[in-house]
Amino acid sequence: MTSLRAIAKADLLITLRRGESVLLTFLIPLGLLFFVGWTGILGIEIETLVPGLFALSIISSAFVGLAVATGFERKYGVLKRLGATPVSRLTLILAKALSVAVIEVLQLALLWIVAATVFDWAPDVRLLGLVAGLVLGTVGPAGLAMLMAGRLRAEATLALANGLYFVFLGIGDVFVPADYLSDGVVALSNLLPAAPLAGLFRWATGAGEVTASVWIVLAVWAIAAPLAASKTFRWEE
């Protein structure tokens, strides 16, 4: 337990110390909340916007942050060195999960407080939906992060993960309504984790209905991505 807490704490400290990580996880979602919230650009309501930003935030931590950190830990031999300690791989994975979960809760709390106080956001909360969003939004994207970080060079993981962040930002139903995108893009987007996750959070905050395809897509990601990662992950670059 002490090892788990110690690794999670070190991981958190280092994550919060990385400028680009704070930019993607906190500043961009918060900046979008203010910008879109104040301008009302594209006719987006605050009720639609906030759950979209929840989805973006979760993905920025569970996918981008995790992929980049793990890729570089692998490159610098941190994972190898931890492999020569009494810490088990399971403990290491749980510590990472704990660190990601803490960041996610901070992200959602920050967005929630700002949205409620500045924009009078008063969601109709389905607690089960929020928990499902946190879990499904974390497991699948984290698996994808490990899939990339466990095989690609750290620099390639960095570029690809950041690139995908902006893809999700643009077509992930985060704040750009589907009407502005072509049918093909929407169809593709609905198969990636971001758009279904945004849909799930909208349902969880009373801003829409959830479809079966949302659950199916997120569940498939949550099973397939970690499974693929566990088969292909290499502890050393």
Partner: protein
């Protein structure tokens, strides 16, 4: 009692054989140095012993445990210093030490360790900003934090300046006096001669020679020659009536008890054949010469 027993260890990567039938034992309390050129299989061997790499064949016992199957038990009792890296670039020195201390039931005192390796004033420094030698010393401190019975040091002083190197040697000698068993790899002959109870010379994944530094360097009274250019060792041998072995580039050993007559005969032959000798020495090889002699002077 043996801390480590390796029998017929093999490690293959595809078609490449990194370790090729290596056998050796390390006694409890002993310091054993693996000496060899780059790519000799030193790091691969050490990482198999540390449980970081699976072996292809052979048997290995470390503190009575198989590192392939009893990793956690083993890792509670050993200290590991990797050849490079292994720490979070964005973490502070003291954070790393405290993190690794948390993995052990009775860790050493973090402040005491920082003082021991001379990093007290760098305790808040970010790892990325440390010099190479400082990184190595932190890595050494982390290897020691769990009060290990057995420590693996893979090139512990690589990249250190002479002062830091001596400090590190003193730390290692203090551990020796506490009875800690150590396996280290090094390129520095001086390091192996000073620290090791026994030295194993490896090349191409094989153990070529093994012994105490004294045993390995006891050359008897043989005659060692160096010249400005390669020369015909066979012709020299015929002339003086004694076996002459070529040793690297433009050097040779005359394998008989050196006598004034032999030295005179060598000098006469050299003068007659325009061979300019730069060194004629009797016996007492350094470990470096022994190493070159055994492993060859190419980085194969």
């Amino acid at each position: 009692m043996s801390a480590i027993v390796i029998e017929q260890l093999e490690k293959r990567y595809g078609g490449f054989t990194a370790v090729d039938g290596l056998s050796l034992e390390v006694e409890v309390g002993e310091t054993y140095a693996l000496l060899g050129p780059n790519g000799a299989g030193k790091t691969t061997t050490i990482e198999i012993l540390e449980g970081l790499r699976p072996r292809s064949a052979g048997s290995v016992s470390v503190l009575g445990l198989d590192p392939g199957t009893h990793k956690e038990d083993l890792h509670r009792r050993i200290g590991v210093m990797l050849q490079e890296g292994g720490l979070y670039p964005g973490a502070r020195v003291v954070e790393m030490l405290e993190l690794f201390a948390s993995f052990h039931a009775e860790p050493r005192d973090v402040d005491g360790l920082l003082a021991l390796v001379g990093l007290t004033e760098h305790r808040r420094a970010i790892y990325r900003k440390l010099s190479g030698g400082q990184k190595q010393r932190l890595s050494l401190a982390i290897a020691l934090v769990g009060r290990p019975e057995l420590v693996f040091l893979d090139e512990p002083t690589a990249g250190m300046d002479p002062v830091a190197r001596r400090t590190t040697w003193e730390i290692i000698e203090a551990l020796q006096s506490e009875g800690v068993t150590m396996v280290l790899t090094t390129h520095y002959m001086e390091e192996a001669e000073r620290l090791a109870d026994r030295v194993g010379i490896v090349n191409r994944g094989r153990l070529l020679a093994e012994g105490t530094p004294d045993e390995l360097t006891a050359g008897g009274g043989e005659l060692r020659l160096k010249a400005t250019a390669p020369f015909d060792t066979r012709a020299l041998g015929t002339h003086i009536g004694a076996p002459v072995r070529a040793l690297g580039h433009a050097a040779a050993i005359v394998d008989v008890e050196a006598s004034p007559e032999i030295i005179a005969a060598v000098a006469a032959w050299a003068a007659a054949h325009a061979v300019h000798l730069t060194e004629v020495r009797v016996g007492a090889a350094g470990l470096e010469e022994v190493f070159l002699e055994i492993a060859g002077d190419d980085d194969a």
